[in-house]
């Protein structure tokens, strides 16, 4: 059924638009104009996560309405792919690479040190909202193993003993 013919579509549409940004709304509209609009679902979710930092329930519902795909399918896709987060992330996203090269060069010890210092496990965020810790499948920079990626920056050849200093340097106020 075309949702645009239901009697409350105007409200539903307005609510969905309010949950997203105008850029995302117009991106969805552009996708709708192309063949196979539903195939752009993953691209839309990438944009939502890029803006909001994660996929909230309200945003996923809004995407379902505007892209006109079932909400179950949106949540199915969002939960299937590791890249999508359903919880807000910390200010610093720490990805410890657990690729083969990193692993044989001691990534497990680096990871253990992060867990110890932050008091959280993989997939968790510190209570102050500062740090999220994740294990990454290979980051593709095996020559520099073991590597840790914090937000967009890659730190090469990390040793467990560097971890406390690294965390400190992240939260230190930037030099004026």
């Amino acid at each position: 059924m075309n949702p645009a013919t239901t009697d409350n579509w105007a409200q539903v549409e307005a609510a969905a638009q309010a949950a997203l940004t105008p850029e995302i709304v117009s991106f969805i509209a552009a996708c709708r104009a192309k063949p196979h609009p539903e195939s752009h679902l993953i691209a839309v979710l990438h944009r939502v996560q890029e803006h909001f930092g994660y996929l909230g329930q309200a945003q996923m519902d809004a995407v379902a309405q505007l892209l006109r795909v079932p909400a179950a399918r949106v949540s199915g896709v969002a939960t299937f792919y590791h890249y999508f987060r359903l919880q807000p992330r910390g200010r610093f996203m720490i990805n410890v690479c657990m690729g083969t090269a990193c692993y044989v060069k001691g990534a497990d010890r680096v990871a253990a040190r992060f867990r110890e210092e932050l008091g959280i496990d993989f997939g968790q965020t510190t209570t102050d909202g500062q740090f999220s810790l994740h294990d990454a499948a290979c980051l593709g920079t095996c020559g520099l193993a073991p590597v840790v990626m914090i937000n967009d920056k890659v730190y090469p050849r990390v040793t467990p003993d560097q971890v406390p200093g690294l965390l400190e340097s992240l939260t230190a106020p930037a030099p004026a």
Binding site: H46, F84, T100, A101, C138, G140
Partner: protein, 727 residues
């Protein structure tokens, strides 16, 4: 009369060449900084910025700064090249801001290379002239080696000082004349960028008299054609890590600016496409690729020409071509490097493939974890579209084809082709049973041809240099080269492209420089989580799809991890199972449950709780998962277990024996530290023990409280008297 496709192409390429030359001509010195995810991680962006500042501060207008992709010499990054026309190109390794400053002030401004920082410093080109004799199969060792020896003798006889001329052997330049096999060899001369054809000792005399003696090119011996690896060897041929490689798929990586279509065109990009469109015979293209014996580089090893035939023969007007750039194997990064270093080659390969099967729409399916690769493909697509090389009526041929990028979202299983198709359709990336194969019913039910990044990158070279050349580069059953991502406990990590049939020994020792820290090689793991381990005894195995499979491993997409005596194969199998279990999509029971149970057994074994009967149970389960899983992920997931059980069974047995031990001393739960009679009572271990479980008087033998020991190994590492024994 309207211009032909080829004429249009030549016009465009000539204009591009002029633009590049004009830009280069204005510069006395060119500085090139490697720029790729790995280079940037090593600090290349800072280095680029430092050079930019220096150029601005000195007000120099004759110094040009540019970016190139990655050469694949990972452990030495960031790499910077300083190029002065007429002089040997100098490459620097591990450049940071401080080194950049020295390089700029000493080399760029004063013309003196900073030797200590040059790439692989001991051998970098200090000679006035370098001759590279082709050592590839076609030119033949029987021919090349005597000629090379004669050349060296003649140089000595002519009294040329050895420090002035270097004679080396390189690999194929792609100029082999199918009729000239065994009759002539090629020689590249640096820095003069000349390639000669040599067939007799008289040719050598002419070169010594004219080129070496008077600096004049011997025109009658000069090869007019462009060589496939020429651009690469000109820049990097002095480095042995590169010289022993054969660069076909990676021919332009580290040579061109990946964001400049002009530079790509200068290296003959899109010439193969123009030829194909000019000829107007898709069946001939397919026949050529079939004859080249190009096989799927994503790991399947299926003949590309055959796949193209099937897609072409499938009924339907709408067909699709897809580039699988969902490089998910941990430890593999060749596709990323190729896309970041030369996206044009992949685009060209896709367009040729689209033409060959009759598709007008194509997709790049790329991992979202590769933002730089995505950006570079986007940029390259824009440039190609603007230049009429993509979109409607390509090069005026009447052929339409457009390409689009689709992002993955971190699901390893999406490398499986039916899962990949579901992902492009915007669904959960779960595989389905084949047949029907995608070439019959793929994306939106239409015939779809999916090839890997490296497969496509090889296609233009096949068209340009011929199927025979490509086929003969490799083995009987697999043509061409393969790119490996060499990592682990090896001296030189990085990308290695070698002909199919090269032995593991050549890759690990000759190119990779052997094992780090003087340790012993234990195994080489190939093919990632779907592959297996090969023992030191298998080092002389020629590597291709079939030989690796016969030994219980696979080529896979080209991951190659070198393990030394400190690595435990049981732990490695556990590691790969953790990965496969985590990435199992959950659709079929054998894979979902089987990988989980196998992992539990392996965790028990490495955790010191293993029982002898676990080995048989593990093996039975592994065979079951292998035979009954739905897709390649599940079918291959047991490989790391089965291959290590096959070759390293005694190591598994040690883990589950009554006296449980880990021969590599890697599995912590099986370790036991004891202090022996060599202890002098220095107290160092006691002071460093994190749980203070070591006690003893000064100058007295110490004791470890086994109940409290956490087996961290600190005491073993700090002891200077070999008094801590590990078992």
């Amino acid at each position: 009369m309207a211009a032909s496709v080829m004429e249009r192409y030549r016009e465009q390429a000539a204009a591009a060449r002029e633009r590049v030359q004009a830009a280069e001509g204005a510069a006395r010195v060119r500085i090139q900084v490697g720029s790729a995810t790995c280079e940037n991680a090593a600090g290349a962006a800072d280095v680029y910025d430092e050079f930019r500042k220096h150029i601005r501060a000195t007000g120099r207008t004759d110094v040009a700064l540019r970016r190139t992709g990655c050469t694949g010499r990972c452990s030495c990054e960031p790499i910077v090249g300083v190029l002065v026309p007429g002089q040997m190109p100098v490459k620097y390794e591990k450049v940071d801001r401080a080194r950049a400053h020295e390089i700029f002030t000493q080399h760029v401004l004063n013309g003196t290379p900073v030797r200590p920082y040059t790439l692989d410093a001991d051998e970098s080109g200090t000679h006035g002239l370098e001759f590279f004799f082709c050592g590839a199969a076609r030119c033949g060792r029987e021919l090349t080696e005597p000629l090379q020896r004669t050349f060296e003798e003649k140089l000595r006889a002519a009294g040329v000082p050895p420090e002035r001329v270097a004679v080396r052997q390189a690999n194929c330049f792609g100029l082999c004349d199918p009729l000239g096999t065994g009759r002539a060899t090629r020689v590249l001369v640096r820095p003069d960028k000349v390639v000669y054809t040599l067939s007799s000792p008289e040719d050598l005399d002419a070169i010594i008299a004219e080129h070496v003696g008077q600096g004049r090119v011997v025109e009658r011996l000069r090869v007019a054609d462009e060589a496939v690896g020429r651009g690469f060897f000109e820049l990097y041929g002095d480095v042995s890590f590169f010289r022993r490689q054969t660069r076909v798929a990676l021919r332009n990586s580290g040579v061109i600016d990946p964001e400049s279509l002009d530079e790509a065109l200068r290296q003959r990009a899109f010439e193969a496409l123009a030829r194909v469109l000019e000829r107007g015979d898709p069946a001939a293209v397919r026949a050529e690729v079939r004859r080249a014996r190009l096989r799927g580089r994503g790991g399947g090893g299926y003949l590309t020409g055959l796949k193209w035939d099937q897609a072409a023969a499938a009924a339907g007007d709408e067909k699709f071509i897809i580039c699988n750039a969902d490089e998910g194997d941990p430890g593999a990064f060749m596709d990323r490097s190729m896309l970041e270093g030369d996206p044009f080659a992949v685009i060209e390969g896709m367009l040729i493939g689209a033409y060959a099967i009759g598709a007008h729409q194509g997709f790049f399916y790329v991992r979202a974890e590769y933002p730089l690769a995505v950006r570079r493909i986007e940029r390259a697509l824009e440039l190609c579209r603007a230049a009429g090389l993509l979109g409607r009526d390509i090069l005026g041929s009447g052929f339409d084809c457009d390409l689009e990028i689709r992002l993955g979202a971190g699901a390893f299983v999406c490398g499986e082709e039916t899962a990949l198709i579901h992902s492009i359709e915007g669904e959960r990336g779960q595989p389905r049973i084949r047949p029907p194969y995608p070439t019959t019913a793929g994306l939106w039910g239409r015939p779809t041809c999916i090839n890997n990044v490296e497969t496509f990158a090889n296609v233009p070279a096949i068209i340009l240099y011929g199927a025979d050349w490509f086929a003969q580069l490799g083995t009987e059953a697999s043509g061409g080269t393969k790119v490996f991502a060499l990592a682990g406990k090896v001296q030189h990590t990085g990308l290695v492209e070698v002909p199919m049939g090269t032995t593991l020994r050549e890759v690990v020792f000759d190119i990779g420089g052997g094992i780090r820290g003087g340790k012993r090689l234990k195994a080489v793991q190939t093919g990632g989580p779907a592959g297996g381990c090969l023992r030191a005894e298998d080092l002389d195995t020629p590597v291709d799809f079939d030989t690796l499979q016969a030994r219980g491993s696979i080529m896979g997409s080209g991951g190659m991890i070198v393990l030394d005596e400190d690595d435990c194969v049981v732990d490695l199998a556990r590691y790969y199972l953790t990965f496969s279990q985590h990435e199992s999509c959950g659709k079929c029971t054998p894979c979902r449950e089987g990988t989980k149970r196998m992992l539990e057994i392996l965790e028990r074994i490495t955790g010191g709780q293993g029982r002898p009967e676990d080995l048989e149970r593990l093996e039975r389960l592994a065979r079951l998962v292998r035979t009954s899983s739905l897709c390649g992920l599940g079918r291959a997931a047991p490989n790391p277990v089965l291959s290590t059980l096959r070759y390293f069974r005694s190591e598994y047995e040690a883990h589950v024996a009554a006296e449980r031990t880990c021969p590599a001393h890697k599995c912590r739960a099986l370790l036991r530290f004891e202090i022996n009679e060599k202890c002098v009572g220095c107290t160092l271990c006691a002071r460093r023990c994190p749980v203070t479980c070591i006690s003893g008087e000064r100058r007295q033998r110490h004791v470890i409280d086994q109940g409290r020991c956490i087996r961290c190994g600190v005491c073993f590492e700090v002891c200077r008297f070999e008094a801590v024994a590990r078992r």
